[in-house]
């Protein structure tokens, strides 16, 4: 196990270097001149030169790259160009809000999709199954935007069941008052594709030989479904959750923008609109690191789910 972990950590390094290179060169060659952005529209050429010197833009490329690396490793990101807030601080304060919304969404999506998908797989081929498939297809064809716009309008504005927008400092208040509507809408939209996907997993497992053996042993259909099939289907489900997991750290920028939730997703969107490069670069690289770590943890946890896995 230790050998496996060491090897995986070692393999992360080239990937990380790749991400850093990608971000660096993308912004350098396509992103326009940072000095001009910082200087604003009315800066004189002298002022722009001064900014360039300050940012070290006149140094040779590899020196700039080296400085970039150093900054990442020492968490020294400097400040946001728009708000002058330290990027590290930005990260720390925005992440909790994002997680308060995203974690319930992921949990509810998975926990609801599994029983629904199992129930549908149990009645495969019937009218219920086929009509449900058509309904989900139609539901999926409507953009998430529409659901949020209409949802916010109906449930918050017209009926007044939830607040239209808002956020507070207390996590409990947030969970009880401000997250229900966004979570409800996101789960509603996310449930359809999850259910369809999990349904295919269950159908695949039901067609396997070991199900025939289980029947030959005299087990009831219910036991077979809930014990044998579910346990095996959890393997691809776990893969699916693992792929979605890094995404919760970025959060849903749409939800956060619509409901004015001060999360990381909204920050990124603001940064994109304002061409606030330090923020975008920092978030990208740190999320990449988080993603790699989450992947490593789930790969190890995989061994618990699937005994056939050999960590090598």
């Amino acid at each position: 196990m230790l050998a496996y972990l060491i090897r995986r950590l070692w393999q992360m390094i080239p990937t990380l270097i790749g991400v850093v290179l990608l971000v660096f060169f993308l912004f350098k060659y396509f992103g326009g001149d940072p000095a001009e952005i910082l200087g604003g529209l009315n800066a004189s050429p002298d002022q722009i030169q001064a900014i360039r010197d300050q940012l070290g833009l006149n140094l040779p490329v590899w020196e700039q790259l080296w400085i970039f690396f150093r900054q990442i490793v020492t968490f020294e990101w400097g400040k946001s160009w728009a708000t002058n807030e330290s990027v590290a601080n930005l990260f720390m304060t925005r992440l909790p809000a994002t997680l308060t919304v995203m974690v319930p969404i992921l949990l509810l999506d998975v926990l609801l999709a599994i029983p629904f998908a199992m129930a549908v797989a149990a009645v495969r081929g019937s009218l219920t199954d086929r009509s449900l498939m058509v309904v989900t297809t139609v539901a999926l064809s409507i953009s998430f935007l529409v659901y949020v716009i209409v949802g916010q309008y109906l449930f918050a504005f017209q009926f007044g069941w939830f607040p239209v927008q808002g956020w507070s400092d207390s996590t409990l208040t947030n969970l009880l008052v401000y997250t229900p509507l966004p979570v409800l809408l996101a789960v509603m939209v996310g449930l359809a594709p999850q259910m369809r996907l999990y349904r295919t997993f269950f159908l695949d497992e039901i067609g396997q030989d070991y199900v025939r053996t289980a029947r030959a042993k005299g087990l009831t259909e219910r036991t077979i479904l809930l014990k044998h099939v579910l346990r095996n289907a959890l393997i691809p489900i776990l893969t699916n959750v693992a792929v979605a997991l890094p995404g919760i750290f970025v959060g849903s920028f749409l939800i956060e923008t619509f409901f004015s939730i001060p999360g990381l997703g909204r920050e990124v969107l603001l940064a994109v609109n304002r061409s606030d490069y330090p923020v975008i670069q920092a978030v990208t690289i740190y999320i990449a690191v988080i993603t790699m770590c989450v992947n490593l943890v789930t790969d190890v946890l995989y061994k618990l789910a699937d005994p056939r896995v050999v960590l090598k």
């Binding site: 396509f30 952005i37 975008i280």
Partner: protein
């Protein structure tokens, strides 16, 4: 001789390989045919829109602002709160008015110019937006942009994913490792974030790639190839050790021939289904990008920009732009999704006994 088989004792079947068999299967799927018809109708609409036959004048303000749809009827006239105009002739101030001598001259000149008076209609087929533009025309034009972006981006992503997947899956070794590294780099960054990064950068790169359909196609294509790469690579790895490829090597077929003349036709149905799935995904992504202002340029319309406008209109009770954009998008995406499902069923190799 005893080794000879009687003529015609082989399994009887229709000749005409994969695609012929798939078409026969597809033809018997009614849902698939209907959805294909709808998709085809949309494509005709797009071609008509792109060539200017329909919806050419979508930017013209042909209706009153927020004109309701025909079947709803014209909006009731709003009570004007303007100050009541006093009756009687104007006060004559020509003795203090410095411009007074020139009025006559200007009046004569104005009479020579022609002005076009457009009568703004009270209602439009699907209603009008806040500037009075025809929502139906916008929806059609938006369809053209959104669908074109979706299809082109899917083509780009599929091309990249297939070529890289073929190389990675077939060769393995150093080439495979290099491509895996690229894949890992791109997938370490969650999709939306990657799109945002590219969008932020291209926002400022107007000189190199102007904002518009092609910038979004590039963003989506360059970020969306990873799923296809994974699948095509797995397929190539599976097929590269199959005996028919070994047999091809045994008779001396070249590497290129083995990859693209032998294996690729066996894998193309996977790529085709992925293409269709990505078309839907990219259309939805484009809508969101345009909504956020990161998509099409300001002088273009897409379903996303329509939704952006619709949000503020909804509070005022004007629902028709939202309905139009949603309806058009829902019909097309549903039809395309059902078509993709039918296509996948028709191409399913297990049922044809080819695998």
């Amino acid at each position: 001789m005893s080794a000879v088989l009687a003529a015609g004792s082989g399994a009887p079947a229709a000749s005409g390989g994969v695609w012929g068999a798939a078409w026969t299967r597809f033809r018997s799927d009614r849902v698939g045919l209907v959805s294909l018809a709808i998709v085809a109708a949309f494509l005709v609409l797009i071609v008509a829109s792109a060539s200017g036959l329909v919806a050419r004048g979508w930017q013209q303000e042909v209706g009153v602002p927020n004109a309701p749809p025909h079947f709803v009827g014209p909006a009731p006239p709003t009570e004007s709160n303007a100050i009541a105009q006093p009756t009687g002739p104007n006060v004559d101030i020509s003795d203090v008015d410095p411009l007074a001598p020139r009025y006559k001259e200007w009046a004569e000149r104005a009479a020579q110019l022609k002005t076009v008076e457009t009568i703004k209609s009270e209602t439009l087929p699907f209603g009008g937006d806040r500037l009075g533009r025809d929502v139906l025309a916008k929806a059609v034009k938006g369809a053209e942009i959104s669908i074109m972006v979706g299809v082109l981006a899917a083509l780009v992503a599929t091309l990249i994913g297939t070529v890289l997947g073929a190389l990675g899956g077939f060769f393995g070794g150093k080439v495979g490792d290099l491509l895996e590294w690229v894949y890992n780099v791109f997938t370490s960054i969650p999709g939306i974030l990657l799109i945002f990064t590219f969008a932020a950068v291209l926002n400022r790169a107007d000189a190199i790639i102007p904002r518009g359909v092609w910038s979004i196609v590039i963003i989506l294509g360059l970020t969306g190839w990873t799923g296809i790469y994974r699948l095509v690579r797995a397929e190539f790895m599976k097929h590269a050790v199959r005996e028919y490829v070994r047999a091809a090597e045994a008779i001396g077929a070249s590497t290129f021939s083995r990859m693209f003349r032998h294996i690729l036709p066996n894998v193309s149905h996977v790529a085709l289904v992925q293409l269709s799935i990505h078309v839907v995904g990219f259309i939805k992504a484009e809508v969101i990008l345009s909504y956020l202002g990161l998509g099409v340029a300001v002088d273009q319309v897409s379903w996303g920009t329509m939704l952006a406008e619709a949000q503020s209109e909804l509070i005022l009770g004007h629902w028709w732009q939202l309905a139009a954009a949603t309806l058009f998008m829902a019909v097309f995406v549903t039809a395309f999704s059902l078509f993709t499902d039918a296509l996948r069923d028709a191409l399913d190799p297990k049922l044809r006994g080819l695998e």
